[in-house]
């Protein structure tokens, strides 16, 4: 994982679960995978509520997941989340424990 990808993926994780949840250096493959699932769920939720973005889709292999999450993370870091706040909150509650497991490599 490249350093700018780590930075953008940590932006996604901190967007969902709050600043300080992780740092770029701590991001691992498992955390990227959970962040991908969370983004997919939040985008699907937002789309279902007639909010603009459509869910991204594709085969969630390791490199694909990292690229996608990093891409969205770059947008989030610039303040462009395009996710309905209520969907972000629901998704954060749904995936919080899974993310904590992934952080510990469990």
């Amino acid at each position: 994982m490249e350093s700018d990808q780590r930075e953008n993926i940590s932006a996604v994780i901190n967007y969902f679960w709050g600043e300080g949840t992780t740092s770029p250096e701590s991001v691992n493959q498992g955390m990227a995978a959970i962040a991908y699932e969370a983004l997919e769920e939040a985008q699907s939720c937002s789309a279902a509520m007639d909010f603009v973005p459509r869910p991204f889709s594709g085969h969630p292999g390791g490199k694909y997941v990292i690229k996608q999450v990093a891409k969205i993370g770059k947008r989030i870091a610039s303040g462009d989340t395009q996710i309905y706040e209520t969907c972000r909150q629901r998704t954060a509650v749904n995936f919080r424990n899974k993310m904590e497991l992934a952080k510990q490599g469990l």
Partner: protein
């Protein structure tokens, strides 16, 4: 020969008796006690505030776990917890909670899940059970916190046993 068969039968009987007595252990969380399957491989507290109790049964990453977490910040669209969860698990559109709050919760937790309420010792436990993903049970603890019980492998009976309903 008879003696060997007798010895094997005795060994099986001893093992199953041992397995039965060792089948469940007590987990304490948020001032409450729960019965979880025995022989975990990892037990730990996780989360930024260490408010998640994890009990894991496999060495495979992300597989076979039970967790207890506190979710007091769950946004309920202007309702109390019980009214909010009643609105999410019932088919009726009549409720006083924000429509967006209920709709978003339904999208994330209810779609594709078996949902309902278990009354255990007079207290409502709202369940959202999925065959393909994590399942959840939300309930209020004795000290007034909203608890999220989650597992990637427990079924309906498994959850009810953890909650002391079986």
């Amino acid at each position: 020969m008879k003696r060997a068969i007798l010895l094997i039968a005795l060994a099986f009987a001893s093992l199953s008796a041992y397995a039965q007595t060792d089948q469940y252990i007590t987990a304490a969380y948020a001032g409450m006690k729960f019965q979880v399957p025995g022989s975990p491989v990892v037990v730990g507290s996780l989360g930024v505030n260490n408010d998640i109790l994890l009990i894991k049964y496999s060495d495979t990453i992300g597989k076979r776990w039970i967790s207890f977490g506190t979710e007091n910040t769950l946004e309920t669209g202007g309702c109390g917890w019980s009214d909010f969860f009643e609105a999410t698990v019932s088919d009726t559109a009549k409720h006083s909670c924000s429509q967006a709050s209920v709709a978003s919760f339904r999208h994330v937790f209810v779609e594709g899940a078996e949902t309902g309420v278990w009354k255990i010792e007079g207290k409502a436990h709202y369940y959202f059970l999925s065959d393909s993903d994590s399942s959840f049970v939300f309930f209020e603890s004795n000290n007034g916190n909203l608890i999220k019980l989650e597992s990637d492998f427990l079924d309906s009976d498994g959850f009810r046993r953890v909650l002391g309903d079986i």
